[in-house]
Symmetry: C2
Subunit: 356 residues, 2 copies
DNA sequence: GGTAGTTCTGTGTTCGCACACGAAATTATT
DNA sequence: AATAATTTCGTGTGCGAACACAGAACTACC
């Protein structure tokens, strides 16, 4: 229709400016080596014409190759991190055309040393960019400093470290997601209902995210001055099913008005499991993340709500933005909170089906 | 790492097969003019090597240009259709590189003749593909037949017509979204609560989508054998605010246990408005679509839930898929139900912020 | 004014693919 | 067997931009 649909080539503006194509090229990439005079002329035309390069041709011709390294925890099948990896794989495919080579490196998320050693190796390999999940805060911080020193740009995924010069971050606002969970869990409960909060002790302590979610949850209760129910904290172990069952049995024996339960990590399916074993029905149950097991219990009405993000999407976009920044020189948004998706039995189907 | 990262050019496979590049090209596009013998050889290599063309180079070299026409209702600012248009605009920008030219044509969604005349004009202009919203079923059906005759591929948006040979469709499962609404609206209501359903008479009758949502809503009630509440149907007009207010006032006067309300079109903000005027608080209110006004009331806790889709995304993907099909010859999914997004005050912020 | 050194500029090649045109090989026709 | 008709094949050019290299213009210095 209008200007948007017309193609303008370097050749054209060279013609208009009365200089050679080489000169235009030099101005575009400010490679120096251009006289003040012709630079001004070309820049004026560039401005007027609102030139935008043909990205296809650009990367086709470009001899530059980029190595992006993704550094994330290793994981079980159907894990949260597997989704992340799927996103990276998709991006790898899409961006290969742009001469971008994606490498994945994994570390053990329960072993601090694993992170330091793998990250050191990554540094040695001199990548053009790094995308990583800063699970161990301090070590991650060190890593970012090294990256800065070597002028290697990096992005965070899943969680982030403030006050550090990263390219972009995609992740959920954990606090807010706890807040949302509270609303869903506590809204229109019968008076004097009892609500249990499950925490799981695991090696390495509770994760940051889990803690933040819990804070958001509590904040909601404070904000709304909710008092017509009773909160019961229950601590479970990471590995002893038998013990956990006993603890829960005891809880249910001594409290006979439990109407709701929540856990802030992604393992709500285990809780669902226990409730099933104990024949506790009619309990409003909320958890996080779309693990296969979680979905199963959501579909069978044991779990009422799952709060989800889109890890694969986040991973993909992180790569995309890194490209935009490094290669296409476009300005991008640094901190991106992804939506807190509310899933229940009735809308999970379409959600899962729709992978975009 | 492995094969994925190696680039294979036509030149390479020509070399491997011992034929000329021209021949490979002919096999790839089966332009005929290739002897059985060399075709087989090339095809075998193609298979082995798992060749995938460089899309950048392909469309850079291609002289083909495509004209896609989008045919949607005209609309108010901040309307549902404006989002759709935004999606198209974005796609237009992204796909211009691929020699695709997007045109938008608008028709009056309350005037059947407007559709027929605009669609006729579109046909005359012989576009390479058409994307349209089949608001008027019968006229749309005629249109598809003409398109078929002229071998112009087309996709639906927003709603669809079954049993017609379209390329793709993105839209919400209206029935299911009614079902979801029912669950959110009716779950854990106090006993004997009253629930009002608002319908709006408008010229041209209720829209298909509205009717289907309502059916889904009712189906939920049936499926769950819910009986502990009373449904009250209220009919409002499209234009007479005064009358509507009176009707509602009357309803609230004669029923003093109204706890929830829903409307199946996107104008729930009007209902919110009325409730405000009548000083009816503490009513669980659910509606559809992210109109600015709706969001306002959601944020101020008048509306409890909004069910949303992503019209811009749908529009964008429709274009993308049309390209995949026509230009990149990839197989795509025909019917795509988009997720039913559940928004409330606490998660709308991140959702709106995240435009991907 | 001549030469060396520096800054600037024009041209040519390449990326991977599409497409056209003409040459070569094959088949048909007399 | 020679020629015409047809099928197959090889090569060259262009898409829009990146980059390299050599040559031109300009500067500095003796």
């Amino acid at each position: 229709m209008k200007n948007q649909d017309k193609k303008i080539r370097i050749k054209d503006i060279a013609l208009l400016a009365g200089v050679s194509e080489g000169t235009v090229d030099r101005v575009l990439h400010n490679r120096g080596e251009v006289s003040e005079k012709s630079r001004i002329v070309v820049e004026k035309i560039l401005e007027e014409i609102n030139y935008s390069p043909n990205l296809l041709a650009r990367s086709l011709a470009s001899k530059k190759h980029f190595r992006f390294v993704c550094l994330i925890p290793n994981h079980q099948p159907e894990d949260y991190w597997e989704s992340v990896e799927r996103g990276f794989d998709l991006a790898r495919k899409d961006y290969l055309q742009y001469n971008i080579h994606l490498e994945k490196h994994l570390y053990n998320q329960f072993d601090l040393n694993s992170f330091t050693s793998v990250s050191a190796k990554v540094l040695d390999s001199k990548p053009d960019a790094v995308i990583f999940a800063p699970i161990f805060r301090e070590q991650a911080l060190n890593f970012t400093q090294e990256l800065n020193l070597q002028k290697i740009p990096f992005s965070f995924i899943d969680s982030m470290i403030e006050d550090v010069d990263f390219i972009s971050y995609y992740g959920q606002n954990s606090f807010q997601s706890g807040y949302v969970a509270a609303k869903l869990l506590l809204n229109s409960l019968p008076d004097h209902a009892q609500v249990i909060i499950i925490r799981t002790k695991r090696k390495g302590g509770e994760s940051n995210q889990t803690i933040t979610r819990s804070k958001g949850f509590m904040q909601y209760i404070n904000d709304k001055h909710l008092i017509n129910f009773e909160l019961i904290n229950v601590d479970l172990t990471d590995d002893n099913e038998e013990a956990n069952l006993n603890v829960l049995r005891e809880v249910f024996n001594t409290n006979n008005n439990i109407k709701a339960a929540i856990t802030f990590n992604s393992k709500v399916y285990r809780l669902a499991n226990y409730l099933n074993s104990l024949h506790c029905t009619n309990i409003r149950l909320i958890g996080y993340d779309l693990l296969e097991e979680n979905i199963k219990y959501l579909k069978s009405d044991v779990i009422s709500f799952l709060l989800a993000q889109r890890p694969d999407k986040q991973a993909y976009l992180t790569i995309r933005d890194m490209c935009s920044e490094l290669i296409f020189k476009q300005k991008i948004k640094k901190t991106n909170y992804v939506p807190i998706d509310i899933l229940m039995k009735e809308n999970i189907e379409d959600y899962m089906e729709f992978r975009e």
